[in-house]
Subunit: 217 residues, 2 copies
DNA sequence: CTCCATTTCAAACGACCGTTTGAACTATGC
DNA sequence: GCATAGTTCAAACGGTCGTTTGAAATGGAG
């Protein structure tokens, strides 16, 4: 069989995903990325133009399948009548956790990358991410509003932001602290580390309860 | 009245809070801090020893009143019998939001600083923060477990981590995106920007519902 | 005033940063 | 074969990074 070897461009994107996800944008140097990708320093500016353009390309590539799947689910739900809050929450959470975690090692890397960038300390980086996930946001907000007519638009937006934030934190694995360090419940490891599906179920249940009964009028 | 002028050490801590909260640890240089604090570059290493030690000192100073208030509330609740989940959640959230937001401009700066550092991209920084908020963590977990006997320890820990994460995100104002940019609900600004008390109420209600009915057995 | 510990200062250290350059290499079409 | 477009390369660019140095300023105690 012929092995379609990864191009330099692809290797740069893969390593960028991993390193940016581990150390953040500011905390990761182009030299660290290019060395790990077995590429020359100048390759970044040749293929992408700048460090930030590399990040933008990596975000776009990582988010594309998630956005596609979310759109597909939303289309499907709305075609079938009035979706419940749980269906909508599931359609948002699961593509973020499963589609990306359910692929062995690389999936976890992509998830951590997305989760970290979404709440990077730099406003510039956060907006860069927001622009990528923006298109479907208003659709979800409108659908949630219809599914929760008793909640005010502000309350729905509040719930949506909480959902978005919690998803990002779980994606980035920031809520599953290091085993050896001083963290939460180091006596018993949380449920979710082995099975991303179980984490998705737990998170959906948590959010459904909060949306159904935790939004102030 | 005599004006006890701020010492260089205090000015450095104040500016560090602000800049680290805005740009993150890696994204903020000591030169930017010392210039804004009208101090010499060498002052950081003289008063603290290193950049990381400056951060550690800032975290400790910022967290001290929050930890004290949380301990006080927990003592009071446990002295009065078996606290409800809502009382426990309130005792955790409110010190984080009010005690720190309800102080004009500087309170918001401190809140953003804490919220950002708690989920900094660098694991090293996150652990530095975790060590500071660790002491009361096990007390809260145990109290929550007693208040929610039907939930498994894993589920309680899961809920606690979600609470901690959501609090940090709201503290850092990462969930109240920039007004002009492409973000959630730029048609109507969320409720919470003007009144931190209202945000606390919304967040507590959200979490109480999630804890009461959203934790899987 | 002298002494001494504390604090501030300008200047420099080596290291690393993102980016650019221009030549060398590679592969494909003619 | 040669020409050509695409890609990779070592090397260097000017800047900024955290940290260190040693001297100058400061200010209370004797």
């Amino acid at each position: 069989m012929e092995t379609p070897v990864e191009t330099t461009r692809e290797r740069l994107l893969n390593v960028a995903e991993q390193r940016f996800g581990e150390g953040g944008y500011e905390g990761t140097s182009l030299r660290a990325i290019t060395v790990a990708a077995a590429a020359n320093i100048a390759a970044v500016n040749y293929h992408f133009g700048s460090k930030e353009a590399l990040l933008r390309a990596a975000v776009a590539r990582a988010m594309a399948p998630v956005n596609t799947e979310r759109r597909r689910r939303l289309d499907q739900l709305e075609a079938g009548g009035a979706p419940t809050p749980e269906e909508l929450i599931r359609a948002f959470i699961e593509p973020g956790l499963e589609l990306v975690l359910r692929r062995g090692e690389r999936g976890a890397v992509v998830a951590r990358f997305i989760g970290r960038i979404a709440f990077d300390p730099s406003r510039r980086i956060r907006e860069l991410y927001a622009a990528e996930s923006d298109p479907i946001e208003s659709r979800y907000l409108a659908a949630l509003q219809r599914a929760l007519p008793q909640a005010s638009p502000d309350a729905v937006a509040f719930g949506y932001m909480n959902m978005l934030g919690l998803l990002a934190l779980h994606q980035s694995q920031a809520l599953s602290p290091t085993p050896g360090a001083a963290g939460v419940a180091n006596t018993a490891n949380p449920v979710n580390t082995e099975d991303p599906g179980k984490l998705a179920e737990n998170l959906v249940a948590f959010l459904v309860a909060a949306f159904d009964r935790g939004l102030r009028a």
